[in-house]
């Protein structure tokens, strides 16, 4: 549904985004993450056609963003970083205006506006002035504006920034519901959000894509991958690492400092080696205190990838 091909944006001598390339399939929620100033907003603006790319092209919902901007605009719902609101208008007047410029037929407008306001939790708020709304409610109106024409593609730039925890949870449920029938790109720097929502993650740093993987893949490959912490005791502590390392299932053993008479091992293995280690321990008569699997969080993976770039 969305395809970025060698997208590059330069502002004068500054290269904000360089040769960015990724695809998003129908029904996918793509998490677009990166440190502040990495080029997330610039990339999203190029996908919506708001900013023309210096080089490369973007195809959204089957239309080239540059050659057929109007077709793309019709099929994309976009929530910019700051919700695009006219402070002076009421929520109702604003949504009526958006539905008019979005070309929603006159007869459908009232029904559609009511439906969208219900969906984002604004029912009964028609007469509130936009300028007087709190950040959370502005964000809701921003979202209502983005989905009012029922677009197949949604581009959300930090939809949860500035929301309180309850609102963040609400927004998350809402985005998940939206994504059932749509393609979504979601930029954020709140990683737990991505972990709960997205199936795939693209990490951008300094204008370049540094990772494009599924959540599982990212965790497995970055930040040292899955590791096991094993604690064993025997009369001869020093012999343990070598014996465990000799197991066929184990790639690497890094012995840590002994703790309370137990050898602490940091074990790396492609598949879970714990039954094999337990069997070995039983044979040798070792005592087992702990066998823990540690899957890196997205945060660890992210820091490992972005940190390595720095």
């Amino acid at each position: 549904m969305i395809s970025a091909q060698q997208l590059t944006k330069r502002f004068g001598s500054l290269t904000a985004v360089e040769s960015v390339e990724f695809q998003v399939g129908r029904g996918e929620i793509l998490g677009f993450i990166g440190p502040n100033g990495a080029g997330k907003t610039t990339t999203m603006r190029m996908l919506t056609g708001f900013l023309p790319a210096t080089e490369g092209r973007a195809v959204v919902a089957g239309h080239d963003v540059f050659d057929e901007p109007m077709q793309v605009r019709r099929k994309v719902g976009y929530l910019p970083e700051t919700p695009p609101l006219y402070r002076e208008l009421t929520i109702g007047a604003y949504l009526r205006f958006v539905s008019e410029i979005r070309g929603i037929p006159r007869g459908d407008r009232v029904r559609r506006i009511g439906q969208v306001m219900d969906e984002v939790g604004l029912a009964g708020w028609e007469d509130r002035i936009l300028g007087s709304l709190s950040k959370g409610y502005r964000q809701r109106v921003g979202l209502a504006q983005a989905i009012i024409h029922d677009p197949p593609v949604l581009i959300l730039d930090e939809p949860t920034s500035g929301l309180d925890p309850a609102q963040v949870a609400g927004m998350r449920d809402f985005v998940r519901r939206l994504a059932e029938s749509r393609t979504v790109i979601l930029s954020t720097h709140i990683l737990p959000e991505v972990e709960r929502l997205c199936s795939r993650v693209v990490i951008i740093s300094k204008g370049r894509i540094v990772a494009d993987d599924s959540l599982d893949g990212l965790r497995r490959h970055a930040g040292g991958g899955v590791r096991y912490r094993i604690e064993l005791r025997d009369s001869d502590l020093l012999a343990i690492p070598a014996l465990v390392g000799a197991l066929a299932q184990v790639d690497q053993v890094i012995p840590g400092p002994a703790d309370d008479g137990f050898a602490v091992l940091d074990v790396k293995a492609p598949d879970d080696p714990r039954t094999a280690i337990a069997r070995l321990a039983t044979q040798k008569g070792w005592m087992i205190r702990a066998m823990e699997r540690h899957i890196p969080s997205l945060e660890e993976a992210f820091l490992a990838i972005v940190g390595a770039e720095r």
Partner: protein
């Protein structure tokens, strides 16, 4: 066209739900009242000649204040991003904004209808001259609003946009005075053609001069075209 209509309605709504339109109406009518009083007492004519001439000069300073927020505000508040990512052709955005400002001007002009009424009560004004004078003022509004929109498209700072608007319009006023001062014949002709006061002069005599109408139409479209180019070119920076 529907989109332009939607933008037209939105802009007018923004004007009338904020104090701006009312402050404008108040200031404009205050000035009009002053000019009307001075005109009638000084000339003793049952006409709006003095008032309309002075009002058109006041518009030169007032209208850029009315238009200055258009593009500047949209860009600052982020609504520009909505405009540029919704299926809104640029021309309908310009047309909607221009027509909304002009509609507000018509409201201002209608507000001055009180003065002809007073003249009619106490004297016997020439309705033909009155009508053409208003046509002239309308054309001045259309032209100045277009120039004001252009200045608004140049900067993100509304106040700067307002000032630039005045600066853009000033030469068209000053040219009138310059025409009186210069000795060279051809230069005087040039200045006279540039001056908007010289262009509305026929209207205050009851004449609808096709050359003058063309001048205002050209002025208006010229600046709308420049605005279009300016908005378009800013996308690339």
């Amino acid at each position: 066209m529907l989109v332009a209509w939607a933008i037209f309605k939105k802009e007018l709504r923004v004007y009338f739900v904020s104090p701006l339109a009312y402050v404008f109406l108040g200031v404009f009518l205050l000035l009009a009242g002053l000019f009307f009083y001075l005109g009638v007492t000084m000339t003793g004519e049952a006409s709006l000649r003095v008032m309309l001439g002075n009002l058109s000069v006041s518009l030169l300073f007032l209208l850029p204040l009315l238009t200055m927020r258009h593009f500047a505000d949209e860009r600052r508040s982020g609504t520009y991003e909505l405009m540029m990512t919704a299926p809104v052709p640029l021309w309908s955005l310009l047309l909607g904004k221009w027509a909304a400002c002009l509609a507000l001007c018509v409201v201002l002009l209608l507000g001055t209808a009180l003065f002809p009424a007073i003249l009619a009560y106490y004297g016997d004004p020439d309705w033909g001259i009155m009508a053409t004078s208003y046509v002239g003022l309308f054309l001045v509004c259309a032209a100045f609003v277009a120039a004001g929109l252009f200045s608004s498209s140049l900067t993100d700072e509304p106040v700067a946009a307002g000032l630039i608007g005045v600066v853009i319009l000033l030469p068209f006023w000053v040219a009138g005075t310059a025409a009186e001062l210069v000795e060279t014949d051809w230069l005087r002709t040039v200045f006279r053609h540039v001056s908007f006061l010289a262009q509305i002069e026929p209207f205050s005599r009851g004449v609808i001069d096709s050359g003058a109408v063309a001048w205002f139409v050209l002025f208006t479209f010229g600046f709308l075209f420049l605005t279009w180019r300016s908005v378009e070119s800013r996308r690339w920076r």
